[in-house]
Symmetry: C2
Subunit: 469 residues, 2 copies
Amino acid sequence: MSVSAFVESLHQFLEKDQISENETIREQHSIDESYHKGGLTQVVVFPRSTEDTAQILKAASRHAVPVVPFGLGTSLEGHVVPLKECATIDFIEMNAVLDVSPDDLMVTVQPGVTRSQLNRELKKHGLFFSVDPGADATLGGMAATNASGTTSVRYGVMRDQVRDLEVVLASGEVIHTGSRAAKSSAGLHLNGLFVGSEGILGCITELTLKVYGIPEFEMAGRATFKSVENAVQAVVSLLQSGIPIARVELLDEISLKQLNHHQKTDYPEIPTLFMEFHGNEDGLAQDVEFMKEIVAMYDCEAIEFVSNHAERTRLWEARHNLAYSFIHGFPGRKMMVTDVCVPISELAGAVRHAQEKLLELNLIGGVTGHVGDGNFHVILMIDLSDSEEKVRANIFNESLVAYGLERNGTSTGEHGVGYGKQKYMQREFGAALGVMQQIKSVLDPQGILNPGKLLPAKGDAVDESVSKN
Amino acid sequence: MSVSAFVESLHQFLEKDQISENETIREQHSIDESYHKGGLTQVVVFPRSTEDTAQILKAASRHAVPVVPFGLGTSLEGHVVPLKECATIDFIEMNAVLDVSPDDLMVTVQPGVTRSQLNRELKKHGLFFSVDPGADATLGGMAATNASGTTSVRYGVMRDQVRDLEVVLASGEVIHTGSRAAKSSAGLHLNGLFVGSEGILGCITELTLKVYGIPEFEMAGRATFKSVENAVQAVVSLLQSGIPIARVELLDEISLKQLNHHQKTDYPEIPTLFMEFHGNEDGLAQDVEFMKEIVAMYDCEAIEFVSNHAERTRLWEARHNLAYSFIHGFPGRKMMVTDVCVPISELAGAVRHAQEKLLELNLIGGVTGHVGDGNFHVILMIDLSDSEEKVRANIFNESLVAYGLERNGTSTGEHGVGYGKQKYMQREFGAALGVMQQIKSVLDPQGILNPGKLLPAKGDAVDESVSKN
């Protein structure tokens, strides 16, 4: 491997301003929004086209130089952090919305387009893109991590939206993983394989995505419960009833306290569901009556609905600002977020387990959850200078992962693996991990694509420290 | 390869009645419901457990004997037809519904469970399984081909329902491709990869699937239009409006004529949409008014709604019996069905092209389509003893595939590739086919899993006869 020879070769086909060895730029491209740390990337490259990307990967292949694809660095498990001497490919200059096709409810974009940029463009056509992971991430990054969020209970995760990806392989070869058809039974499902592959199989250079008509009528609601169990059981009943829930978010006592404190709201500080429904006015009016009956069966303390735009926006802004409420509430501390997803029948137990572990390990944190998916987060606020507290935080995270995996859940519902959760992959997948490693080996024989992420290399030491409860 | 040594070794771990070399049994397991023909399987094996299946595959691997997994043989592209000396593994004795979890809206079944068997079981819990491919296929077969059908516009295709598969690999190793979590960002997406893999990567021995609560209220409708273009354009508008369409099926003039003739109905013989909506009563009442406005913009001749169970059933039975109406209408002829899926904006053109080609090639056939997905079928009735007519039928099929692929659609929306459409894979996927072949090679190095299906072997001659229009 020779990074300098690689950089040299880049100058043969890229403009000077597409290559940066500036230290500040390199530092900015060596971190994400998490507490995970790694090395410093050697060079940052800014492709402007698929052809640029193909040339970059051919050169990387020739010189055996690892590459890390980069969107906006909003990942949470060290996905873009260099673990070896490497080059970073920043797709920010490939940020065009290439095609909007309202008849096909479909859009084609470059990977550097952000979620908010796409939604601004779609609004002109009465359309919206459904996946909302909180951060204003790039769509390339969202596909690479299979992002999801509050609306996934209704519209699905990132993988469900992808009709086609243009991908540059390690060899520099360009493939399309799908088509513009809404469904297909042809070939092996490469769309699904490349979504969530975190840059270890190729670099995404174009995405064709499913979009939706903006709903005729939207309504939001808030329901408070005596216990997390009651709240979760109510959601199960709502889901079974077929009520068109577009979002359903659980916030625990501590999260609401933090929200009230930071945002000057006065929400009751007991387990609460924030909900949203998409449909038509008469239908939702009937659903409201039905919902009141359902939640009453689970000792709902109060349920309120709002349908005007300003009130709905206020509710969801509060929910969106939850992480910031914690960050601002604990200056000097760094956020660490867990991301376990369990079968919904196990969710109440998992949340209770998390709350007990928070107390037992004396950690600061609140629970929030995409209840409809069984995916919940604990937002921990950690003093990184306190190594003993860091140990407790890791024990906490591992305890939650162990709890989830024992109940046939997953270590990450939406944040992805990066290198933070790689150590759990053997335990989560067992023999299936071997299949994943075989696929990786055959598609990237030199191991130049985002090395050290998603999959442990064959024979890598497995972290056995995951506690049994 | 020694089939006799393989059969010998089977007797070491299977009961006698799990192995059949009876010629009638072998013949029954060497065909599907299509016109595709192949060889005769050497032996049919009936595993009763995952362990049986693992042992069978270990023995097959040891003796290098190809195996073909078999459900009920309802496939349409020669998926289960032997192309080499091989053994057939019939999963019909693995037909238990292992677990129904209403709280998780999830069910675990063995691969030999049929769709109707599952729905009978689910009905007791107020639940239903959404994928309906017409035939009462096994769920293992439906997963292997990524089946879909009339309800996919609302609930998605088979792949969307799969949370976890237990799969026995060529080596006999058993893996789980997912978990019981509703979503995950961990590892590579093996669920998606194995669904639709047509037995070339492994044998499915267990499926964990998403199910739904039976809707509170269902309504069906029928709308007639002056032209196919008007009908398709109306569907685009309905989809954009967010109206909860659960099914939307297009039938052309010839299909309606056949239906009326066979089923003694008196539907107007002009382009017609059969529709179904799931929601609540007030919501659908409001949607009806909205729909009337929308279809009026596209010169709808008449639109009628029915909500009582008997009338809805009559409508859908008619639609379901369409294929039989053709079969009974043309005794002595064999059905051949095309399955192209195009972006919905291209659907009207594709249907018109198909109708013109029918006339031009002097073939008997009608067009029906899952319009919401852009997937349409032409049911051709062919005299297989007339070799010249067979040639014309093949020209027709190839012309439709070519039309679809040129518009970035797919050669098969839901029937799969089998060996009937393998010749189109190079054209459909280009360089991506190489990636699929690499995955196949590394997971089945001896090539014993359903050889000759789905993917052409590397270097296989590609059928270049696909006409350009």
